[in-house]
């Protein structure tokens, strides 16, 4: 009895020591963002809502042609979201601005995957089917995907769409950043190449930030002093300039902390090197051997 108890505390002590070590040395979370990714800067003051980007996106990515491609009025009556047939859509917003003739001025905003620097979807994906590439593109590999849709739950921009009508081989559908094109020298994403008003500027993210800040500075009173995507969820490859508050064009207000930071920090401090399960196993085994010895001890028979 005495021996078993001493033994028990010995095991408990060992387990305790093993828990203290890795917990103390658990590494702080660090960003896994690529050093010098590409990006796009969307200038909402330049967009005229021609929807050429939608058409070109569909062509390049072999998606069905957009609904009424030449329509620039009734199509905007309902707000649309990217879906399994369209990686990008343009919406029209009336934000309260009026022109000299007292007519409301529309603002057009294109939506697509933001290609986050530290994407929640990549952190969440159970099989690593989503990856953040050096180019900045968040890429999807259908051959690994099991269809759990955790990426869709995780995405703060509600971007990944699902082929809900495919019973056997549905895919997650989202903007590819035209990876096959931008990974080649001089390649542009379909939408950025076609835009007639140069509302979409493609380039290195660091350069685009400079361009954006310069544009804000040189046009006083036009732009908000805020590049959407510079800091949102730790930064995104796609960024926006606007003269109207971003919330009014359905670009949600987001914290500057990368979405995966908290969950990865908690998860890794609990389970790195499996220290906690191993420690728990040790403690429970110690308990079990102690109670077993007590039960085997004739003096303790029946005393449960």
């Amino acid at each position: 009895m005495l021996l078993s108890r001493r033994n028990f505390f010995k095991i408990l002590g060992a387990a305790g020591a093993s828990t203290a070590l890795p917990a103390g040395s658990a590494q702080a979370w660090s960003s896994k963002a690529p050093d010098d990714p590409y990006g796009c800067l969307v200038d909402l003051t330049r967009c005229v809502g021609c929807r050429k980007c939608e058409e070109e996106c569909a062509r390049v990515n072999e998606l069905p042609a957009p609904e009424r491609p030449n329509c620039q009025c009734t199509i905007f009556e309902k707000n649309r979201r990217p879906d399994d047939d369209a990686f990008t859509v343009v919406n029209r917003y009336f934000t309260g601005r009026i022109d000299n003739f007292n007519k409301p001025v529309p603002t057009y905003a294109k939506v697509q995957c933001m290609h986050c620097q530290d994407p929640a979807c990549v952190s969440a994906c159970i099989v690593g089917a989503l990856t953040k590439d050096e180019t900045g593109a968040v890429r999807y590999n259908k051959d690994k995907c099991i269809g759990c849709r955790y990426c869709m739950v995780a995405c703060p921009f509600e971007i990944p769409a699902y082929e809900y009508d495919d019973p056997i081989t549905p895919k997650v559908m989202k903007c590819t950043f035209c990876y096959d094109r931008i990974s080649k020298d001089g390649g542009l994403p379909g939408c950025a190449g076609i835009c007639p008003t140069e509302a979409i500027t493609f380039g290195k993210r660091s350069t685009l930030l400079k361009v954006g800040k310069k544009r804000v500075k040189e046009n006083p009173g036009i732009y908000l002093d805020h590049i959407y995507g510079e800091k949102e969820v730790g930064g995104t490859s796609w960024m926006y300039l606007s003269s109207v508050p971003f919330k009014k064009v359905k670009l949600p207000g987001l914290p500057e902390t990368p979405s995966p930071k908290l969950s990865e920090t908690i998860h890794h401090s609990l389970f790195s090197y499996l220290w906690s399960p191993i420690a728990l196993f040790g403690v429970l085994a110690a308990f079990m051997s102690r109670t077993k010895k007590e039960a085997d001890n004739p003096d303790n028979k029946g005393g449960v």
Partner: protein, 398 residues
């Protein structure tokens, strides 16, 4: 006191009702695998998880916690008094996890690819850890159940017709397995508890990756602790619930001498859960939402008051603890509270930041869920009828 197969009629009206639900569920599943997930569900791009994840998976895992909590109590902490409830709890856990996996197979888009996480590891993914634990734990549960099968059929294997030539082989497997497990069972018992603690808590971590999408009443860094605490707290109430249903439907001894002392643990376990939930609400000042009248807040209030506080207060009274009806009602409230918590975290409290519109499960989704639950109950009934699970010798003749 020894567990024994039931000697009861199998086909009762209740069983036939279960059969109807099973058939309806099977038709809905057929629809899902011919027309796609969108054909039978109200899921959308903004609402990718619904009833199947919230109930079939998250709630299923939580309510199967009776398996590891009773095993820990009786086998690890040596309270052998409670051994008679470990077998039914183990059966429920084994069936519960089997149906979690079946529910997942219906819910995930590429069911045939469910094996892929075994070879494609993403250590940053909370879901990866959950999947690995659930997969291993399901096998551990089957292993823990094997001695019960062996006890019934050892040296009595009598397969029908063509299969009879396999009799001696099956018998040999049963006997060898049983002999090996006799020596090594302690490993599986502890492993079961460890794996349960891991994935029960990690199920709570799932939503931490979406800080802007879960209502602040539920979004807290303590979510994993809360999921673990509630799973442990609901373990014994599940045992009370099942035992009361089983003993009254099969007219067996109500086992109050075991259930009443079990509720004393529940006071502490549920009290701890209530404490961290309340403390977290005060610390993060989320009580400011409590009276805003939205359906999320109301759902939170029902969860906290009817699902945790009320049954906790009930169990403080000796009169309730001694009453079969009293503990059954308390157990139902606690179970309801945990079910509602999982539904709240995965469905009610989930608000897509951009899209509008709410989600309510489609008839097809409900048919699948009810069908799976009915099948689970059906197999439970088969198992207790033919295997030594419930304490049979104390049967009461009415």
């Amino acid at each position: 006191m020894k567990a024994a197969p039931l000697n009861k009629k199998f086909w009762t009206p209740g069983v036939l009702v279960m059969l109807c639900f099973m058939i309806a569920g099977a038709i809905a599943i057929l629809g899902r695998f011919t027309g796609g997930i969108g054909y039978v569900t109200n899921l959308s791009n903004a609402r990718p998880w619904g009833l199947w994840v919230g109930v079939d998976v998250a709630t299923g895992v939580a309510l199967a916690a009776g398996g590891f909590t009773t095993a820990a109590l009786a086998h690890i902490f040596g309270r052998h008094h409670y051994e008679s409830v470990t077998r039914p709890a183990l059966l429920t856990a084994a069936l519960g996890y089997t149906f979690v996996v079946l529910g997942l197979l219906v819910d995930i888009g590429r069911s045939w690819a469910i094996w892929k996480p075994m070879f494609n590891w993403n250590f940053n993914s909370v879901l990866f850890e959950v999947a690995m634990c659930v997969m291993i734990y399901l096998n551990v549960l089957y292993i823990e159940f094997l001695p019960i099968v062996a006890e019934q059929f050892k040296d009595r294997v009598n397969l029908p017709g063509m299969l009879s030539s396999l009799n001696s082989l099956v018998n040999w497997i049963l006997k060898t397995g049983d002999a090996i497990l006799n020596k090594t069972m302690w490993i599986f018992i502890i492993l079961g508890v460890v794996l349960s603690c891991m994935h029960q808590s990690s199920l709570g971590s799932l939503m931490l990756v979406a800080p802007t999408k879960l209502h602040p009443l539920w979004y807290t860094p303590l979510l994993p602790l809360m999921f673990l605490a509630s799973a442990i707290a609901v373990g014994y109430p599940m045992v009370i619930f099942e035992t009361t249903i089983a003993t009254s439907s099969f007219k067996l001894d109500p086992e109050m001498d075991i259930l009443t002392p079990l509720t004393r643990f529940t006071i502490y376990l549920l009290g701890f859960y209530l404490l961290i939930k309340t403390g977290d609400m005060i610390y993060r000042k989320t009580w400011v939402y409590l009276l805003d009248g939205t359906y999320q807040t109301n759902s939170f209030l029902v969860e906290m008051i009817c699902g945790i506080a009320l049954p906790w207060v009930m169990l403080l009274f000796n009169r309730v603890r001694q009453s079969r009806t009293g503990i059954f009602i308390a157990a139902c409230l606690i179970i309801g509270g945990v079910v509602l918590n999982r539904v709240n975290v995965f469905i009610v409290g989930y608000k897509p930041p951009i899209s509008e519109g709410t989600y309510f499960p489609a008839v097809g989704e409900m048919l699948v869920t009810f069908g799976l639950i009915a099948t689970l109950m059906f197999i439970y009934r088969i198992a207790v009828t033919f295997l030594p699970v419930l304490p049979g010798s104390r049967e009461v003749n009415v």
